[in-house]
């Protein structure tokens, strides 16, 4: 196998493994395992960015930022949020069996849709190369799985994990769609996610203190 094919193969393998970590983060019922799956995904993203960096040198900076924000800070905040409390996720709206089926359908449909209609999202020539095409399809799948988790999970901490996946999906798409993004913009986008997670977990800490639970179904005081 020539080095280029090997490189493409490596990128595609990493991309597809990302989807598996997303499913694990969504479906694991123990929050610490779910966070661990997210951490694995973050490491894979750093690996993926380093692989792409051979094509686009600016991605080395992006990889370093992702290492700090996604691999170190975000999981640290999440683990701190569940420290000393029962880490079993509150029963979600959709049970395990149907949820796995929905997740599988989402994966297949979003991956196929983006892979098939990539020109709609990626008008540039570079983004239409095979590896970037796979990357974009994986990005949209991770985004969809994150959105699914946010919408169907009643545990606020799990919803934050879903939000992190959603953001990972968008950030992955930047590799294909916005390779020339300046370092300042990349840093701004990445650091904002960390601050969002920190603030959300801080407010969730208050919710746990005042409501005695992180069950979003109990947040009904302001219902219309």
């Amino acid at each position: 196998m020539n080095p280029e094919a090997l490189h493409s193969g490596l990128i595609e393998t990493l991309s597809l493994t990302l989807v598996i970590t997303s499913v694990a983060a969504v479906e694991m019922r123990r929050l610490k395992f779910s966070i661990a799956a997210y951490l694995c995904q973050a490491l894979l993203i750093v690996g993926l960015l380093l692989s792409f960096a051979s094509v686009n040198k600016a991605l080395y900076w992006w990889a370093a930022t992702a290492l700090l924000t996604k691999v170190i800070l975000t999981p640290w905040f999440l683990f701190r949020a569940i420290r000393g409390v029962d880490d079993h996720e509150l029963k979600p709206v959709i049970g395990f069996g149907p949820s796995v089926v929905i997740v599988a359908l989402l994966m297949i449909s979003f991956f196929r849709l983006t892979h098939g209609r990539f020109a709609l999202l990626a008008p540039s020539g570079m983004a239409q190369l095979g590896v970037f095409r796979t990357n974009l399809a994986v990005a949209s799948t991770v985004f969809a799985l994150g959105l699914y988790a946010v919408l169907t999970r009643r545990d606020a901490v799990k919803a934050v994990i879903g939000l992190c996946l959603l953001e990972n999906g968008v950030h992955l798409s930047l590799v294909s769609l916005a390779p020339g993004l300046s370092e300042t913009a990349l840093f701004g986008v990445a650091s904002e996610v960390v601050v969002t997670v920190f603030l959300l977990l801080y407010v969730i800490g208050g919710v746990r203190q005042v409501f005695g639970s992180t069950d979003t179904f109990r947040l009904r005081e302001l219902r219309f």
Binding site: R117, A119, L120, L121, A122, P123, S124, G125, A127, F143, L147, V150, A156, A159, L163, L166, E167, V170, S173, L174, L177, A178, G180, L181, S182, T184, A185, G188, V189, E192, V195, T196, L199, L200, Y202, V203, I204, G206, V207, V210, F211, T216, L219, R220, E221, L222, F224
Partner: protein, 503 residues
Amino acid sequence: MPGEALTQTSVLPAAVFLLPVLAGVVLISATRASRVLQQWISVLTMVTVTGLGAWMARQILRGFVLTTWNQELRVDALSALMVVIIGGIGLLASIYSLRYIEERTGKNLVASRTHTFYGLLMWFLGTMLWGCVTNNVIMLYVAIEATTLTSGLLVAFYWDRRALEAGYKYLMLLTIGITFALFGCVLLYAGAAATNKLDGASALLISDIRRVTQFIPGGTAAVTIAFLIIGFGTKAGIAPFHPWLPDAHAEAPAPISVLLSGVMIKMSLYALARTVSPFYPAWPQVTIFIVALGTFTMLLGIILALTQNDLKRLLAYSSVSQMGYVLAGVGLGTYLGCYGGLYHLVNHALAKSLLFMCVGAVMYATGARRISELGGLKHQMPITSACYFLGALALAGFPPLNGFWSKLTIYLALARAGLWWAAGIAILASILTAVVMVRAGYRVFWGNGPSVDAPSPSFKEVPAGMFVPMMILAAICVLLGVYPQAPYPLLHRAAAVLATLGR
């Protein structure tokens, strides 16, 4: 239409947002500084920011566009208009908060948290100003998300059940919504870069992207517009993406409600108009969709307001409705529509800030905010009562108040574009607004209290520090009604920036 503006390098665009950000750093760090010092730092910062905004507006009116940092920051008439509004309303909200925040949070809490309140307030204003002066499409997203992050803890400031619920929903829903905007901004950049008419760096600049949007492929343009509308529309409170708005605007402290309803949602609509309007010449059908969304928003918002018993929620739903007018105006893409939309953006900022201050004054004096628990306050709170009715009538578009002229301009623009159905819905929503606002005011200030037999408690008018900002806003509403041409020079240039479909 104004001629081609001359570009001038200036430190003003950077200074106008860095100043409150730095003041915020000082305030957050100054845990041992006295409360009075913290408050005056914030007021003086906003006085300076308002002065800088006025100075920038003067430069713009002399035919300049101000830029700095390799065009990363750029202030044209539209940005200057937004800076003046944010600076002015921010200053009045800061003054209003001096007495309000002490009374509403209790002495012990104030001692430990005023520095956080004023620090976050400065950051909130600073990030809004940053969003208005940035010319980088990705940093526009970053700035708008930053406004959510800086205001999230302000929404949850009281840290009770209701505030925490509102804070959680606010942070969660707006972050999800704005992620769509990031996707939209990235696609806008990718689409512009793929036209091969811009180099890498300039494809990030909104002022350059405007020149090449017609070359972006149709499918990409459609997906981009959809993501931008969902993303920025969520933050602007456009229906059906508005559910976060009544909770957050109602549960935040009154000075923050003033900023959320008065300026923050406008700033998001500004971002929407900036990024979507360049597509109109190539995709005029988008304007019909946006006008339809605007009319749906104005009608749904006011219908939901009709059923409210909580004064702050009522005002929040009315903000949803009024944003529909602004969206319908600027969404038309014509000069008249953009002029009316931007004029209403200014007028709504003034009237809604005034109304939230009046409701804050009622809460300050009585501790209640449900209409059914209030009544007969006109003798005890005459200034608040007069200011409320002025704001309510201005909002409803009664002549000769300011809201009348902006709404009339929007009706005319819709009719001129042949969208009579939209003009009809806009007029109907205005009538409903008058009913909702006057009925609520009548019951609170003129009606009987909850128990006619019980002796009336002795409430009194709020302190001068609170009613003076209210009187200033009420006076501006009257002045702009009697002299509607006053903001014309700046509005004319700002409308010309957005009007991509001619007159």
